[in-house]
Amino acid sequence: MKIEWLLFAVVLIAALIPIFRGKGRSWRFTGLILLGSVVVTIAAAAALQKQLTRRSQLREQVMKTLPREGRPGGFVSSDSCQACHPREYHTWHRSYHRTMTQYAAPESVKAKFDNVTLEYHGEKYRLEKRRDEFWADMPDMDWKHAQMARGRLVPAGETPRVSKRIGMLTGSHHMQAFWYSGPSGNIQIGFPFVYLLADQKWVPRNDSFLMDPALPAPVQIWNNNCVQCHTTAGQPRPQRANKTVMDTHVAEIGISCEACHGPANAHIAENRNPLDRFRFHHSAGVDKKIINPARLDHRRSSQVCGQCHGVKWIPAQERWQEEGFSFRPGADLDQSTPILRPVKHAEELFVKETLKRDPTFLSDRFWSDGMVRVSGREFNGLTESPCFQRGTLSCVSCHSMHDSAPDDQLARHKESNAACVECHKSIRVAEHTHHAANSSGSLCYNCHMPHTTYGLLKAIRSHQIDSPSVETSSKTGRPNACNLCHLDKTLEWTSAHLTKWYGAKPVELSAEDKAHSAAALLALKGDAGQRALIAWHMGWKPAQEISGRKWLAPYLGQLLEDPYGTVRYVALRSLKSLPEFRRFEFDYISGPDERRRAHEDTLKIWRDIKDLDRTAAEVFVDFEGTRNEWVKLLEQRNNRSMYLQE
């Protein structure tokens, strides 16, 4: 502050000297006017200084309660990258990696905060935007948890209230989740609501995950969970004496350059000299002080993504808590944070110990044959793929951070079969697929990477490159690619075609699987994860075009009554993709009575549709006539408790 005032005074005095050296009464008069202006300027400066100082102090106070940017290890943050890499900086800057975690500010918060009141389990949450700050008036959850720890259950509405400032947020693409500071250190606790961006709607956090509604709402702590993947080089840093007090540091709050390229300090120091830089630009050399994932072999390159996009286990827990992950791009991820592969690691001690603590750890993340089933874990799928194991497929074979649109970050020209025929040059696509060229059945992705992964309120392509198999569908419950497009067809139909076209072994199927559509059976009898996938595919345009649309509404209407909020959400979105239901209104977090009404309304609209495009008993389309069977199937529904850990 002192230097500012000194400079201010020096410049001002230097300017005033020539004025007051002027001669004559009239010039003195002008000089006095100027002096007046100067006094006003000084007063304005003093007021501005006071405001800036106060703002700075307040900001400092708030920042103390938030995870801090800046940590040892040679990290410099993306701040320093733009000067030399403007194009890469710009493409990263518009990506959703950058905004994975942000401090709460008007430019980052997209949710509505003005005079919003939410309710959850009988408690009210009032949101408010105060100038640049975001606040929640809410029940004091610290107090409530303390009471519960003493065995006292506090009735709804009796918890004292507290005002909490929202300090951070996660996400900017599909939804935003919010965090407020805990009682000590810079611990961040999850606010129990998330904001769905497409719907512009606040929903309870539990209803944005595929989670058994009967399970208690978990208390989310950002510092030892989300920090692993949603920041760059995070260090949880709990206090040794009291592990609930944290002093979390990160290299950068979002996922930034150094997450993929490694710490940049040495790279910057090496390249300060412009002559060295010009020499380098005109040589074929590689800067060894920084990593370019595109230049690594396919395994090490994919591990750069896999450090976050994988289910991993942390062998040295204490060290990770204190220092963060020791993995750096270019190194072997398996040496520090191995990726969990159920097929390979099933008998390992760490898996057994994990399952003792959490029996559903594997089933919450994998299908029973070890294929990953949740979003954000694409590396698990890739590592099990023959193209990776026997070929050179890597993440950057199809994705690009710096030459792609922000959605999915598929590299240019990789939306089509171009990605696959680079290696599979001899394939004649239509001949291979037995589908018309340029149809959805001839898009490699649709058969070999079907949408059997769930996350972010949608089905996502599996990244384990695989071929459709009825045997696998029967054993694991995972729908196969054929029946996810041909929603109206049975497993027997699929099996017959796979046998005829590809020599697949015929599969023993139940009478039910022979008689009825696989998708219809899963929609009624499947577990919540299966129901969500089917509900999504009922809104998927290629599936609607092939399978017909007019028989789908009763299923989607049925799923509006599903006990899982996310299944209802996905079903509603698919229902609204049908022409007759575009204006259908339903609040997917409403209670059982509203859900039943929504189901009935769906059927009313559906019954008015003439010329249904499917009449086969395969899809139970004659609703009235086959009601008994429908009810029977619902009674057989797999109601196992699920919580897909996306």
Partner: protein, 134 residues
């Protein structure tokens, strides 16, 4: 006239030197000038360099204008002259000082000298224009 020619050429030298310094900061990729978080400083020092250089040229032009207007009213001429000198210190000086200590997207206190300088520059140019019109 001589005063302005002297002031003009010396301040031109000074601000051209500043420009060379700023270019060197680019060449050497100096973080406190080029980082994203210091964009405000980069903008303000660029403005300081630009205004200082241009005002130096204005001084040279003013010096030549005085020689070309021997009948220009002395009082108006002296006021214009002093205002121009003061503006030439306040404008680039204010920009530069405002870029030394910055507050994220906001400049430091020095920026408040810029409007003062702008008023003085306006006064100088107005008086010169009037003098040239008579």
């Amino acid at each position: 006239m001589r005063r302005h020619l002297k002031f003009g050429w010396w301040s031109l030298l000074f601000f051209l030197t500043l420009g060379i310094v700023l270019e060197a900061l680019h060449a050497l990729k100096v973080g406190w000038y080029l980082n994203v978080s210091t964009a405000t400083r980069r903008l303000l020092w660029t403005l300081a360099h630009a205004h200082g250089t241009l005002l130096a040229l204005v001084h040279i032009a003013f010096g030549l204008t005085i020689a070309a207007l021997p009948s220009w009213n002395a009082r108006a001429r002296n006021t214009a002259s002093t205002s121009l000198v003061a503006a030439s210190i306040l404008l680039p000086g204010g920009f530069f000082a405002g870029g030394i200590v910055i507050y994220a997207g906001d400049p430091g206190l020095g920026i408040l000298l810029v409007p003062l300088g702008a008023v003085l520059l306006f006064t100088a140019v107005l008086l010169t224009a009037r003098g040239a019109s008579r």
